[in-house]
Amino acid sequence: MSSELIVFLILAAVGVLSGILMITRPNPVNSALFLILNFMALAGLYITLHAQFVAIIQILVYAGAIMVLVLFVIMLLNLEDEEPLREQMSKRHYGSLLVALLALVLIVQVIGWNSGGTLETMREQSPHALRIGTVEHIGSVLFTEHVYPFELTSILLLAAIVGAIVMAKKRFP
């Protein structure tokens, strides 16, 4: 087994386990912390894919900003534990079963890619992979080809910021 595969397997195991723990913990704070662990594992996976900049942004934006906001809101609202999943399972049994089945099909199909097609060629990372993850390359592409979506994001964020204030603020005295 190559060292790359070992690193991948460790990170993947952490990612999957933390994801499963995230959706099963009754306490929202625990869930949020497991989600942060999941994001860390993903950041590691991005490094193995030579996407350094994405990995850093993953930590800074996702774990650092979004999850802090989520944790802040959980603490602000002082939420109690949800009733354990076991007790509500009867109602949602069928939905979950269906989803699990769908999941199985999906994964089998993805594995099926082994049997041929375009993805047969994707055994190794492209030689360009080393180049495209750098800040330099990303910056040059972001501000040329993708400059319009980038500008649009600023409008979107402005709308979101004002919207969040409008929704969350209390009435004026």
Partner: protein, 100 residues
């Protein structure tokens, strides 16, 4: 080398975990976190394809997904706070005046 299938299967598993969470959990904030998990598995697929295809547009998409996810989390949590002020709950089972 690690073939791309490994990454794809991992992201599929994580995506399904997120979907199951959205369907089974009742706490609105946890549902938001499950949606974040779904978006992250999408990001993993994009980055993996980007590296294996040697094409940077996939990574570009990831940045935009992150920006939108941040915006959506802010708006969504603000809505949760507004609802909590009104109803003292974030459990979506208690939120059911409107039914068909």
């Amino acid at each position: 080398m690690v073939p791309i299938h490994y990454y794809l299967i991992l992201s599929a598993v994580m995506f399904i975990t997120g979907v199951v969470g959205v369907l089974t959990r009742r706490n609105a904030i946890i549902i938001f976190m499950c949606i974040e998990l779904m978006l992250n598995s999408v990001n993993l697929t994009f980055v993996a394809f980007s590296a294996y295809l040697g094409n940077e547009t996939g990574q570009m998409f990831v940045f935009f997904i992150m920006a939108v996810a941040a915006a959506e989390a802010a708006v969504g949590l603000a809505i949760v706070i507004a609802l909590f002020r009104n109803r003292q709950t974030v459990n979506i089972n208690d939120v059911n005046i409107l039914r068909w």
